[in-house]
């Protein structure tokens, strides 16, 4: 049990002083208890306080510290250093405007999330007590509601890179299906109408990068498939 040196190559860009982005080679010592990539990043920041990244819960539920790690999107806080080839190459999430270093502008991502009307709509007056839902119907939401909006999936999706303004993207579509699948929602037709468009839904070409990178092991491709099925059923 000794300290270990971890080598990094990190994307750096501060528009306040850098003319253009560059990769910085840097290393840091970590203690045996410091097993996660985020632990090392926090230590790096002690060494160089200009290194900028988002982080909060450090346990994989808030979705703040998504980044591109050795070419694959993931959360720094739940990625073991031991599983990574060194030097560990860290870049901001692909396809988004970089604000600084590992921090990207997520405006477009959230805009797409908002576009699917991410809330239960039920036009019947609410009962005195809870709306009843069978355990089986509730089970339909498993694998959907757990999304943490980290954007690992959408920013690994070539279709989203090309059309971030027109294609809802895997995270937004997973959320779309979460509300379609909820027996308490009464607006399934409007929800399908909202996605009936050459781009919003149908730009998904089942490349499945989203499934590969999701840190919560969710399956947006499957959800997208189910929406497509419903679209077809509706026509037939």
């Amino acid at each position: 049990m000794t300290t270990q040196t971890v080598k990094f190559s990190i994307y750096r860009y501060d528009p306040d002083k850098d003319k253009k982005p560059y990769m910085q080679d840097i290393s840091v010592e970590v203690e045996p208890g410091e097993r996660k990539l985020l632990d090392a990043l926090v230590k790096l920041k002690v060494k160089d306080d200009t290194l900028s990244f988002r982080r909060s819960c450090r346990e994989g539920v808030c979705g703040s510290d998504a980044m591109n790690i050795n070419g694959k999107n993931g959360l720094a806080c739940i990625t073991d250093i031991d599983t990574l080839k060194q030097p560990i190459e860290l870049r901001p999430l692909p396809g988004m405007p970089v604000v600084r270093d590992l921090i990207v502008d997520m405006t477009q991502f959230f805009k797409q999330y908002h576009s699917i009307k991410p809330y239960v709509v039920n036009d019947t007056p609410p009962p005195e007590k809870e709306r009843l839902q069978s355990p089986e119907d509730r089970k339909e939401l498993d694998g959907l509601y757990e999304c943490i909006l980290c954007a690992c999936c959408s920013t690994s999706c070539p279709s989203f890179w090309w059309n971030p303004d027109k294609f809802v993207g895997p995270a937004g579509l997973l959320a779309a299906y979460r509300f379609i699948a909820d027996t308490r929602d009464t607006t399934i037709n409007e929800r399908l109408d909202n996605l009936e468009d050459p781009y919003r839904l149908f730009r998904c070409h089942t490349i499945m990068n989203c499934v590969d990178v999701c840190p919560k092991e969710l399956n947006p491709t499957k959800a997208i498939g189910k929406i497509k099925e419903l679209m077809i059923k509706r026509v037939a």
């Binding site: 909060s56 994989g60 703040s64 604000v99 007590k129 809870e130 509300f179």
Partner: protein
Amino acid sequence: MAKLAKRTFDAVVVGAGGAGLRAALQLSEAGLKTAVLSKVFPTRSHTVAAQGGVSASLGNSEPDHWHWHMYDTVKGSDWLGDQDAIEFMCRAAPQAVIELEHFGMPFDRNDDGTIYQRPFGGHMSNFGEKPVRRACAAADRTGHAMLHALYQRNVRANTQFFVEWMALDMIRDAEGKVLGVIAMEMETAEIVIFQAKATLFATGGAGRIYYSSTNAFINTGDGLGMAARAGIPLEDMEFWQFHPTGVAGAGVLITEGVRGEGGILRNASGERFMERYAPVAKDLASRDVVSRAMVTEINEGRGCGAGKDHVLLDITHLDPEVIKHRLPGIREISIKFAGVDPIKAPIPVVPTCHYQMGGIPTNYHGEVVVPDGAGNHVVVPGFYAAGEVACASVHGANRLGTNSLLDLLVFGKSAGDSLIKYVKGEVRSMPEIPQSEIDRTLARVDRLNNQTNGVEVNDARLAMQRTMQAHCGVFRFKDMLKQGVEKILEVEKMVQKTQIKDKSKVFNTARIEALELDNLIEVAKATMISAEARTESRGAHVRDDAPDTPATPNGRDDANWLKHTLWHREGNKLEYKPVNLTPLTVETIELKARSY
């Protein structure tokens, strides 16, 4: 004289966790022009990490009653909770949870389609008789499901968010009325005045004052720091909850819901030691009781592992399907942070700082109340607080599990409603902002930007966290507290000289961390000084010089200490206010010795 850009609103809400979002929803739906400021995108707030459930006496599985919930909460608080606020919260609980279900929260379900409820620590039926299923759960991701549902409802209500804005200070006029906040946009470092007819703080807790904490990095007590600097006293800050089951070494939370589903704590010899400490409730005793039992086991050499420094949380006897279905999140955490699959092996756990019972003093309407110097407690005009930042006080000296999520729902809503009444009640003017208030904040930011030969932020923060951990933990000692006060005042001097190398205007997280430390140190001082002064043992505050005697059961000294602490930043002055023992409609829950 520096001028700042100004924006004006009916209301400004600081913080977009559960309490901030619940309040914001009231304000948006009432048509108030509202700004919600948050350091992080709303769904990244720490409410997201709550796991086990939200309490409400729905009685979906067995008979339950709000009065029993109230009794448990008063007893859990070790009688330091205000009984009017506790009655208010427990009575409002079923409606608050039903409402959330109507908003779309994906609760787990019973076979009859009603909301699933599980047992939890200190939740009992019939005034303390036997455990009852009261914690309404969405698997072990209740906070995540709740925060997202509340955010989603706010999207529907068109709430206006200012994401990645950090409030720096609150603004008060000469009479003490609150006029809004001064805030910094993190992406650009621009400082802007958010003037409002009313201001609501929902900034959460400050668990990061301790070295080992279940809390997120962002939990830096910003609302408490701002309030303290603006002359608002902080209430009952000596009371910090150490959650029994943080993952040993990592600090990450393992919900009490694990014990609710049948999990058992074991020492090195495999003994279910809680049977000795709490014969009735056993592993589901109140959190302070369980944490102390664990530390006692460890201190007496019955800890586990090579360092004998933790105990084990065992669920290997549960049906793997129950674990996968009801506790998927903790299985994931356990595998990732403890390296064990709890289906096969027990989880190493240790008590870890988790929740701040104290905070900005409020009444059950969410209005901030302060002493007026003449023995009265008066409302601060235009100022509201809800959630962990506030002290209503419903948690008293020890919070019951799942009452935090309930607190933020009930008081987020009631604070929002009070604010609406205030803003709509009469024409509220937008007076000139006193220049002194602006200068005070800018001086603090300038000091940081221009500091040379100063102290590294990390060094000062570590000094604070280690001092708090060593001097003000699960068990407290008279001499250590006394030294702790001296040490924390030394740390304060370090904090006043923090220095950053990063001078960029663009998303400067070094600056944010330094400004957060300005807030943390206020909380650390309040905690240590309040703890040193309270010479009894009550709830989560247990001292070596206040032992169990017939006159003071469990060390609790009601004759002298049945009162709330108020810490004033100015001169570190302490004063006290009585506990409200008179509920709204029912009889007082009479003082008695606490046992589980």
